[in-house]
């Protein structure tokens, strides 16, 4: 699974980096960023889904790979 933030939609609510700090971070203005290459480590899928389902702007896409 790979996480992606649509920077056109993200408004910096920060739900993603509150709920899944291993997967998401913030920039100097508080907008969400994907940590590393965005690949969600094995076992962390539920955290990624929790973050995505709490983003008020629906800015997080989770791409199932493979």
């Amino acid at each position: 699974m790979r996480a992606q933030i649509d920077s056109g939609r993200c408004q910096g609510h920060g739900r993603c980096y509150d709920l899944a700090p291993d997967l998401f971070g913030d920039d100097d203005e508080g907008y969400g960023t994907v940590l590393g290459d965005g690949v969600v480590p094995e076992g962390k899928e539920p955290d990624a889904r929790l973050a995505a389902s709490n983003c008020p702007e629906r800015a997080i896409d989770l791409l199932e790979e493979g």
Binding site: Q11, D18, N54
Partner: protein
Amino acid sequence: MTERSEGIKRHGPVVTPSDEGGLMTDRFAKNYAELRDDQPLGTRNEIVTGPVEDWATDFSHLEPEWAADPYPIQDDLRQRCPIAHTDRFGGGWLPTRYEDVAAIAYDTERFSSRSVIMSNFRPPRELAPVGGTPPISSDPPFHQHARRLLLPAFTKTAVGRLEPATRAFCHSLIDGFAGQDVVDAARDYAQHIPMRVIGDMLGFPPEDGPRFREFVENTLEGVNLPPEERIARMEQLFDYLLEQIRDHVANPREDLTTYLIEAEFGGEKLQPSHVAGTMALLLIAGIDTTWSAIGASLWHLAKTPADRERLVADPGLLPTAMEEFLRAYAPVTMARLVKEDMHWAGVDMKAEDWVLLSFPAANRDPAQFDRADEVVIDRQVNRHAAFGLGIHRCVGSHLARMELRVALEIWLERIPAFSLDDPSAVTWAAGQVRGPRTLPLRVG
């Protein structure tokens, strides 16, 4: 029908690109009345108060019935008339579905933020896209400049640095309750926390707290008062801010006031009215809102022993529960002005009509949330809109969440058992920021 007249001068200094006077060294020399004299006129309508006949055709968010319990009214409207209308305030609309609230928040082309407080006064159209209190009153493209100035000071990391002082302050408030059986949690606890935090960020003297409270109440709760009185109240606020600004010009410090005085964009310093307007916004937006969120959460816990006991036993659940309190008791409703006549979602909106943008109503729409009318403190999926949606997302949301978490955590740790002393003594603020203003809790 109400009638609009070109009457009173707008209260606030208006930022116009041609206003050169503001850029000199004594750019903060003018007082509020002098700044106001340069302003174009706004539009006023007749003030209509009194009991609402039918909420679908005559709503008013300033009547006591709404203040006491707006949710049944909103739930009823969502079913029977999802975009309600009123002739009060010179004409306005009230959408109650999440979908419509979101669409309007995103549609900055057709809905302006030139005024976000639905009242009997429409600021002059020339005020757009800046507005009296940037960035909340600003439209694109100006909005993003005013907003970007503030963002770095309000990131989660930046506000995290204020947490230790906030914790110590909450403890000191509770130390002050020693020996009391009943405590007014709204007046003697919730209110003081955001006041101290934002006062410190702006670099205002801590003993001025009670004065800010007065300014905030005046702005948000005096909406139906006569204009002369409102102007006099605004004057007090702005003259206070200008006094603080001049003191910071003379003695620069590491705080938000000095930051705004020094800030530039496009190679120029900000207009005095922008500096003062943004400071007013931070005071007003930062205090009432967070005070309401802390108060409403404590009110819920005082009347719901099962939730209180669960949080005392499992403080790790607090961040999740807090989001649910923000959803169910969202304190903030905003407004927009319709830019041009149009047919929108089945209704005929006219230019200059208000839209009361109820994030609280959106947050209780069953089409968006399961068990929308219940408070479920372990709700996992909670895409609520308490901090708005789209480009005006609350700049202070990370600060507000820190304050709310710390305030509740320390209260529950120090006062794990509490209940409503007298449910009928609880009072709620009327208007667009809703929360308890009197909240007597039995703590002994």
